[in-house]
């Protein structure tokens, strides 16, 4: 039972890293980026290539995934995303679905449609018993790494100058712009950072979630659940939403496998009906 909880937390941690970039971009520019998963997939493939072709160790491949995805985010934001901000939600959705389709077909073309695997270093594989709980080393590593990341982000979001500017811009972009905050540059940076995190999440998730060209579509719904349930104005909201989702999903799959993903979707619909502005949303006019 506790093992399930542990695995669920690890899964939720990855979901959080994958989705938190999306939550910030969505909150900041009110932009629905369904293509967020494509950046995660990109990070995953970068890891696979770096390890298989270049022979980089796993720990070196992770930053590579982060920076590659962040760079891709920066370039794409500049080139194609920026004209989309002023358009309607529907256009944004269509646009990002188009990007997802292109990413899927492109990955299929370049990498083949089969599942990709990475060889974890020896000290990360296997599991040990801790007070009766089976603890997977890799999952423990994920929890520690992502937990540290979450703390760092929470700190950066609430304590630094960058964070307070970002929060101001999320709350009211127009007023923030009027106060001289460079909202566009802020957004480009955040977008790149969020994409980088997605890439990192994709790289970390190869072992747990698998990696194949349909990744962006398969997990799109998970990111969206995290964001809509967690709200877009905090770091902790998506964090707890991701935890909840991770534990519920893993528990559901272990305990009642025949229901499959049904539990998750039902949970999302119920949550959205009862709390349309997110589980942890602040009161907003």
């Amino acid at each position: 039972m506790l093992t399930i909880l542990f695995d669920g937390v690890a899964y939720g941690m990855i979901l959080f890293v994958l989705a938190c970039g999306l939550s910030v971009t969505m909150g900041l520019m009110n932009f629905i980026n369904l293509a967020h998963g494509a950046f995660a997939m990109f990070g995953g493939y970068v890891t696979v290539l770096a390890m298989q072709r270049l022979g980089l160790p796993f720990l070196m491949a992770l930053p590579a995934a982060f920076f590659a995805a962040a760079l891709a985010g920066l370039v794409l934001e500049r080139l194609v995303y920026r004209p989309m901000y002023a358009k309607s939600h529907l256009d944004q959705v269509m646009f990002s679905i188009g990007l997802v389709f292109m990413a899927i077909a492109g990955a299929d073309y370049l990498m083949g449609s089969s599942q990709q695997f990475v060889q974890l270093p020896a000290w990360l594989s296997g599991r040990f018993d801790l007070a009766g709980i089976g603890v997977g080393r890799y999952r423990l590593f994920i929890i520690l790494l992502c937990g540290a990341l979450a703390f760092a982000m929470q700190w950066g979001f609430t304590r630094t100058r960058f964070g307070s500017r970002l929060r101001a811009a999320v709350d009211d972009a127009r007023v923030a712009r009027g106060l001289g905050i460079p909202v566009n540059r802020l957004f480009a940076l955040t977008f790149a950072f969020g994409s980088g995190l997605a890439g990192l999440g994709g790289a970390l998730g190869i072992e747990l979630m698998g990696l194949d060209p349909t990744f962006p579509l398969k997990f799109m719904i998970y990111f969206l659940i995290v964001v809509t349930v967690g709200g877009t104005s905090t770091i902790s909201g998506p964090f707890f939403a991701a935890m909840l989702l991770g534990v519920a999903d893993v528990a559901g799959k272990y305990l009642v496998p025949q229901l499959g993903a049904f539990i998750i979707y039902a949970l999302m619909v119920i949550l959205l009906i009862t709390r349309p502005h997110g589980l942890f949303a602040r009161g907003r006019a």
Partner: protein, 335 residues
């Protein structure tokens, strides 16, 4: 003129919009003529008619009521399964099956309509997507009823109206789908031209003001959502009956996404958009699939991106220019 009461003016404009434009008549004559002119393409024509009906359904909620949906395939698939199961276990009569598919999907629309009444566009997109995914998951896990991943097999259809047997070339299939499309289209045309349709447009343009002027917001949205769901169910039922097979694919996400593309390409909010979009989409699919069958998705994605980034103005501007010129020529000829 100015002495007319507002009621009389509204009535006249409604009646005016109800009159059939020559171009509309030409459109349907062409659709019928395609049956004789393209006897080898009847199967794809049938698919176009079904897709057109499906897009018409989305147009009712998106183009007229402004409800965005990423899960319209839920109703399509539900109608398809309902019609398929009905044909398999109850009666092989297509028209009854169509009615069953429509009412089943309409009922589902009615039941899920409270979900779309609340929240922003984003919540609506998510909830509709969630409903479609739940149905897909259900159809997958209830393999005993739906056949699961193997699809619903062994559907035998009787002749349409007891007279016309389905054939392998799709002759009856196309005429049947086209007839259903036409009947439902005329009904939809009548509905959007009615005061009810006007009130929907008012809600789309400004919900607050519409409700202030006495439009019962919720009930109107529930009504149109149910209607659109029934239309989508009809499209699904047609697919199930004419192909005599239902697979999990009818509930897949890409179906909803493609549908959105179809409607956006054709233009939402004037009923013909979905039909024109369906023709364009199927032709595009056919052309692309003939040289890169595997990477079809890439080109559709590229098309979507370019379209939203600026292609729409080009295409629609071009169409408007042509239509305007034709209309002017017609007017000159008539005077």
């Amino acid at each position: 003129m100015s002495t007319d009461s507002i009621e009389a003016r509204v009535q006249r404009s409604l009646y005016g919009a109800r009159r059939w434009h020559p171009a509309e008549i030409a459109f349907w004559v062409l659709a019928l003529a395609a049956f004789f002119l393209l006897p080898r393409q009847l199967l794809i024509l049938n698919e176009i008619a079904i897709l057109g009906l499906f897009a018409l359904s989305l147009d009712l909620i998106l183009g007229y009521a402004g409800i965005v949906s990423l899960g319209h395939a839920a109703f399509f698939g539900f109608g398809a399964y309902a019609a398929g199961l009905f044909a398999k276990h109850a009666s092989a009569d297509p028209v009854t099956g169509l009615a069953v598919g429509m009412s089943a999907a309409g009922l589902l629309g009615l039941l899920t309509s409270p979900l779309i009444l609340r929240g922003s566009d984003l919540t609506r997109l998510m909830v509709t997507l969630g409903v479609a995914l739940i149905l897909g998951e259900l159809a997958n896990s209830l393999g005993g009823i739906t056949g699961g991943a193997d699809g619903l097999q062994g559907i035998m259809m009787g002749p349409v109206l007891g007279l016309f047997e389905f054939d392998i070339f799709g002759k009856v299939a196309y005429l049947y789908s086209l007839a259903v499309l036409f009947v439902l289209f005329v009904l939809a045309r009548r509905i959007v031209g009615s005061p009810f349709g006007l009130s929907l447009r008012a809600i789309r343009d400004n919900p607050l003001r519409a409700s202030a002027s006495g439009v019962p917001l919720h009930w109107r949205l529930v009504a149109v959502y149910t209607l659109a769901a029934a239309y989508a169910g009809a499209a699904g039922a047609l697919l199930a009956q004419t192909t005599q097979f239902v697979s999990l694919d009818v509930l897949a996400f890409h179906r909803s996404a493609d549908l959105m593309l179809v409607l956006i390409v054709g233009g939402a909010g004037y009923l013909y958009g979905g039909l024109i979009g369906a023709v364009a989409f199927k032709l595009l699919q056919d052309v692309i699939a003939s040289f890169t069958p595997q990477y079809w998705m890439f080109w559709i994605g590229l098309f979507l991106v370019l379209f939203v980034l600026g292609g729409r103005e080009l295409i629609h501007g071009g169409i408007k220019a042509v239509v305007g010129r034709v209309a002017r020529l017609g007017r000159r000829a008539s005077t």
